[in-house]
Symmetry: C2
Subunit: 449 residues, 2 copies
């Protein structure tokens, strides 16, 4: 088995653009690439897979191989193996959401729009990937199929909830995976596994065919090995060209200074600082930003998620409580019988404070900050000791991400060039869109190579 | 007193464009016009006024008169008297919302954006006008200052909640008034008082500075004596030009056929039919429309309004229950302690069914239907007998309007050319925007003159 132990290189996989070049040049066929992905996924020791779709994937790859030999190309992802978080519908496969509640789910009738777009661009869906049960939590270690394991240390979490998507890309099994992000669920596992995770603007990618966690916060996103891969995937999902690239020279970079935004793990802080320094060295102007409303704003997050998620699950919780993982059941049930006033008030506070937050951030192009307050923690740990104090894992993984689900702004997590447990640096688009933050992330990646 | 009894002409006031022409031509000064409006409002027997702003209005009119003599014009509404529903902030005046809860409200610090836009275009705010308490109800007869009275029969309701706005325009006191419409509150009083009422697209006019009834349904709208007045007011609020006028020839007119859409009062049905016939005679194509999901869709309306309104009032209801009108207090309190699930589920059903409703309506340009199921009913009556059966007043006033608050589509109510109690015909924009439905309304108005 190739990956029986931990992955030691920061990213052992091939990058998406490199694979595409190889396929276009005829050095690699879609059949070879897909077979290799399937083989690696079948031998996976990190528990990233829920369903492998071997026969259909190989048939699709064979057809794409034939077309390639005839010089016919479906699109920019021709022949590329794609993994899909098992919260997102793929036609013909069940969507089980990491839960025994959906153990016997029927095959989905249609692809979710994001899946359909990537498939139309030539991608081959090879697997449905591990997710925290119903995407409810940032760790990736609570699911019907057991915990996902971090390729950099299998005793540690992947982060979640797009656990399998991040780990399968990090392990080099797949160049591209789809995930979802309601409060951190693309960016945190990307950071903890050392890959790139892009959460687009709220509403930019349809959530049709995606099992909801909380509909006013849910986003579909992508995980890739490098920034160029994310750019390519985004061009397919977005459907419009990038326009002129964003120059780092003159870029206004906001750095949130409040205590709220600081990491807990002392190994993390140097890297967002290094990112800011690298951008400044290339001509960016650095602006210190203060956000006094952040605590009140993020206090709305659990109320919105909790009430929306409970509404979705109320009937199943009543009829089939034993089919939930105990931790997720408890978390959901803690929102039983909550008053409508609490939820409506939380949404009002959100609507009031998002513009205030925007005004406090000002006219910066991006914010640069850590993706998480902790690196990957031991599987099952609710808290970890840092400098003699216990730090709760869940808020440490959510806190620096969820504000941008509340605002809906685009954000990308880029791996810092570290050995050992990965660290993510987050770039949030304020004045810039997805293409813009991808350009900034690419500049960082180049500076760090 | 000019209007001690009922108004017998269908619209005794001067139309907004006619007044503007007179001011522009120097036949009428802003001071004369505003003084006349204030005088009429001061002598009003229909209880339309909450606050008259005599001194500031006369000072503003004097300044506008001076400017006019110098050929300086602030905008298309130069010198025009404007009334504002007392749910909407006017700088320097209290916003009392028809309630003793706000008996001692301090003066508003700033104009609501809609007020500011009309003021910047030259309008002179002369009065804050009667509203159903906190805009909660379609009748206009429940308020701290007593019932508003219909100028066509003072024993009957104006409709609500923009009761004073509709009645003051209908009585000829004012050429223009601002109202709000959460479920019918511009269109129903317009229909019952025989004036034009425009509810724009959801979100097209800011609701900042407007006391909320239900934030996901609230709209700001205008009431005028004729369609040309509504067109002028809309051009100011919208800020963009109309573009080419919509031709009735070839217009696709949808007529909702389900029982749900039928009026209760047999005097009403001939008029939407006459409107459709008039449009067809001018070349419109008539399409019968069926909306099987309408009952499920409108069932979400009371749950959304009730829960959002209760959230706003919960504290006051606990501390100052006696300051509410008993009927409004009961209505609000019926939503105390409702579960969040009910509200979230109602919003989900709404989001699911609005596209279905749109698909059922198809590619028509407009829908044409009655504005209300009843004409103005006796003040205080909860139901009225029609053909031996009791018809509840509230749903009869709401039912044909609230679907378009749920969808957010623009709609305008135009008075039919009737003697006696007025009847409104509603034109709803499906393929057309506000300017488009105004053009269709203008075609009807011309056909009926």
């Amino acid at each position: 088995m190739r990956h029986s132990g931990a992955v030691t290189e920061s990213f052992p996989g091939q990058s998406l653009p490199t694979l595409i070049d190889a396929i276009r040049a005829g050095r690699l066929t879609p059949s070879e690439h897909v077979a290799q992905a399937l083989e690696r996924l079948a031998a996976d020791p990190f528990n990233t897979v829920i369903t492998l779709d071997v026969e259909r994937a190989m048939a699709a790859a064979a057809a794409l191989t034939d077309e390639a030999t005839q010089g016919r190309w479906r699109g920019p992802l021709h022949g590329i193996a794609l993994g899909v978080k098992d919260l997102i519908d793929v036609a013909g496969l069940p969507t089980r959401c990491g839960s025994n509640v959906l153990r016997d789910a029927p095959p989905a009738v249609a692809d979710a729009p994001a899946v359909a777009q990537l498939r139309a661009a030539g991608a081959v869906i090879v697997a449905k990937l591990h997710t925290q049960e119903f995407a409810h939590g940032p760790t990736g270690d609570v699911a019907a199929t057991g915990p996902a394991r971090n390729p950099h240390d299998p005793t540690r979490i992947t982060g979640g909830s797009s656990s399998g998507s991040a780990a399968a890309v990090a392990a080099g099994y797949l160049p591209l995976a789809l995930g979802t992000d309601t409060g951190c669920s693309v960016r945190t596992p990307a950071a903890l596994c050392g890959v790139v995770g892009l959460k687009p603007t709220y509403g930019a990618v349809s959530t049709d065919g995606v099992f909801p966690l909380a509909e006013t916060l849910d986003h579909v996103g992508v995980l890739t090995g490098d920034v160029a891969g994310a750019a390519l995937a985004w061009s397919v999902l977005n459907g419009r060209d990038a326009g002129a690239p964003v120059a780092v020279d003159g870029l206004r970079v906001g750095v949130p200074m409040d205590d709220y935004w600081q990491p807990a793990d002392p190994a993390i802080a140097p890297w967002p600082a290094a990112a800011v320094a690298a951008l400044a060295a290339a001509g960016a102007r650095v602006v210190e930003v203060r956000t006094p409303m952040i605590d009140e704003l993020v206090a709305t997050y659990p109320l919105i998620v909790g009430n929306e998620a409970y509404t979705t699950h109320a009937r199943w919780l009543a009829r089939r409580p034993a089919d939930y993982q105990p931790l997720i059941r408890e978390r959901l049930l803690s929102f039983a019988d909550r008053p409508a006033v609490e939820y409506i008030q939380a949404q009002r506070t959100r609507r009031r404070l998002v513009p205030e937050f925007g005004a406090a951030v000002g006219d910066v192009d991006v914010l640069v900050l850590p993706t998480t307050r902790l690196r990957a923690t031991p599987i099952g740990a609710a808290s970890v000791p840092i400098d003699g104090a216990d730090v709760d894992v869940r808020p440490a993984m959510l806190a620096l991400n969820s504000p941008f689900n509340l605002t809906g702004w685009p954000a990308v997590s880029v791996p810092a060039p570290v050995d050992g447990l990965p660290i993510g640096v987050q770039i949030v688009g304020v004045g810039l869109d997805e293409y813009g933050i991808i350009d900034v992330a690419a500049a960082l990646e180049r500076a760090w190579r």
